[in-house]
Symmetry: C2
Subunit: 123 residues, 2 copies
Amino acid sequence: VTGTALRTALAYYEAWTGGDFEKAMTYIAPEITCDAPAGPLRGADAFRAFMGPFAAMLRGADLRAAYGDDTTALLMYDTRTALVGHAPGAERHTVENGLITHLQIVFDRQPFTEARLRANADQ
Amino acid sequence: VTGTALRTALAYYEAWTGGDFEKAMTYIAPEITCDAPAGPLRGADAFRAFMGPFAAMLRGADLRAAYGDDTTALLMYDTRTALVGHAPGAERHTVENGLITHLQIVFDRQPFTEARLRANADQ
């Protein structure tokens, strides 16, 4: 693995998919901006509130591709959760001084929305 | 740009986002397999039926990151369509002999579904 941004992105990925979300957060800049499917997020607290619950329900992840250079990294992975058995995601990271200052995350919200509607209908 | 897979992936991307979907299809292997949000697709005809209508409604696209090597490429981009003003996507391409034999595409279906529901409600 070459490229400092890619190294940081992979360390973040390995931490949150490995069950250590607090370690993952040590790679997140306090002033991070995040482009998420539901809209922009600003700051590490907002990022934690978005990503923490997903990390907590993760049952497994497989890295599909990871590339980058000294400033930017790009990852694609598949995830398994109790809600959705197959949910791929992709992330673009901007890294400065070893911290992720911008993260754009792309995934399909629809299966999660449908699973929650089914769960509510079953109650 | 180094890496033959990345060159092919970018040629495909430039063609379909530039309004020449038929040129884009010349980079697609007849036996392509595609992992799309709604499920797997098999063969160039199924891929054309999936991607053609989206390409036809595209109003603009911006490449956010592109990396790859001789066998695999990874792209992230933003799109604008009449239905959804801001729809990012990510694609992982496997390339053999200058043709894309596998393409995993990740995007959020939810804003498209919501826009179609609104359009139907307005009728």
